[in-house]
């Protein structure tokens, strides 16, 4: 047993010495490498976006982002599938919970609109300020989490979530295809005019795509949260049955 307990430490020691060598030998670059300096000098004229990270994610690496959103969709679908198969019989949703307190209920009613507004702000300004579709989507989903915490009994409808999700995904692909026809290629954001640098309606199709990504990511996170929350209810029902 002692040798088996020693194995992790030996492995970590080896990995740790590799990390130590990397750490001591690391010197930060003085200048940007070629890829990065291309992005730094060309982003403003090619995409019109102030936030270079956004320009990379939505324009230069747009196809990767489409794949990433697809992976997220797959995760939400698989989580729903895996959890739905192990569900207790329906119809007693939320009966295993005490009602949430006055503070939480009132606080939720006050905070949810503000959080939703903040999420929308973050994904609308993704091309100007730090943030973007993924971050904004996560903020929107946190508002949904707050609503679920305050009122576990009535989750929101899966149908609405999947409508928003599929509409946003489909529009994203359609914008990509329009870029193929009217601009330089698939997901080319110069489809729309670039506008004045630094204004909210600028950077071509980037704000539009980021709004769609924000909605899609928010819907996907919400659907994961709802799936997990329903199983928590089932578990609560089970313990109630056992008593």
């Amino acid at each position: 047993m002692t040798t088996r307990m020693a194995i992790p430490f030996v492995l970590l020691l080896i990995l740790g010495s590799v990390f130590f060598a990397l750490f001591t030998g690391y010197t930060p670059d003085e200048t940007l490498n070629r890829t990065a300096s291309y992005y730094a000098t060309q982003t403003a004229s090619e995409t019109g976006a102030q936030n270079i990270v956004t320009a990379i994610i939505v324009t230069y690496r747009g196809l990767d982002t489409l794949g990433e959103v697809t992976v997220l969709f797959l995760t939400a679908a698989i989580v729903g599938l895996v959890l739905a198969q192990s569900k207790a019989p329906k119809g007693r949703s939320g009966s295993g919970f005490l009602p949430s307190g006055e503070l939480l209920t009132t606080g939720t009613r006050m905070l949810v609109p503000v959080i939703l507004l903040f999420g929308a702000y973050v994904f609308l300004n993704g091309h100007l300020t730090p943030g973007g579709g993924f971050q904004g989507g996560a903020i929107v989903a946190s508002a949904m989490l707050l609503m679920l915490l305050a009122n576990p009994a009535d989750g929101f409808s899966h149908r609405l979530i999947s409508r928003i999700e599929s509409t946003a995904g489909l529009s994203y692909v359609i914008i990509g295809l329009l870029g193929l026809i009217f601009a330089g290629g698939f997901l080319d954001t110069t489809l729309l005019p670039l506008g004045r640098f630094g204004s909210i309606l600028s950077a071509g199709a980037i704000p539009l795509i980021y709004v769609l990504i924000g909605l899609k990511v928010g819907a996907e996170f919400s659907s994961i949260l709802t799936s997990l929350e329903e199983t928590v209810q089932d578990a609560a029902n089970d313990t109630e049955d056992a008593q």
Binding site: F19, F23, V53, I57, V71, S86, L128, L228
Partner: protein, 119 residues
């Protein structure tokens, strides 16, 4: 220590901590937490590698476009890490769902109760 070194050391430490937790814990939930810790460490290291001393974030609101290349940090690792965070979240959600499934099947979250794939 400079800022880069602090960030790199933190990241490497988080990776090692996460791997240690994943290797030594018997509880599946603790292993999942350890994995998220390790992936956070990887993200911290990646962002730290993209940092150039004395430079600013790659957002051109106060920096004029003309001398952007001389004043911003590397934007590519930041874009990569954004992807990594999102995928990491998906992996964590999947791990939690499978853990719940295992718990429903056997009523246990101890990894030593699942010996089918052991050799």
């Amino acid at each position: 220590m400079t800022l880069v070194q602090i960030a790199l050391a933190t990241g490497f430490l988080l990776i090692l901590l996460g791997l240690y937790g994943a290797l030594t814990n018997r509880n599946i939930l603790r292993m999942i937490v350890s994995f998220t810790l390790a992936s956070t460490g990887v993200n911290v290291v990646l962002v730290a590698v993209g940092y150039l001393p004395g430079r600013e974030a790659p957002i051109l609101d106060t920096i004029p476009v003309a001398d952007a290349a001389a004043r911003i940090t590397d934007p590519v690792p930041q874009a990569l890490v954004l992807t990594a965070i999102v995928i990491g979240l998906g992996v964590t959600a999947l791990m939690l769902a499978y853990a719940y499934r295992l718990f429903r099947a056997r009523g246990s979250l101890d990894i030593s109760d699942y010996t089918e794939l052991k050799w």
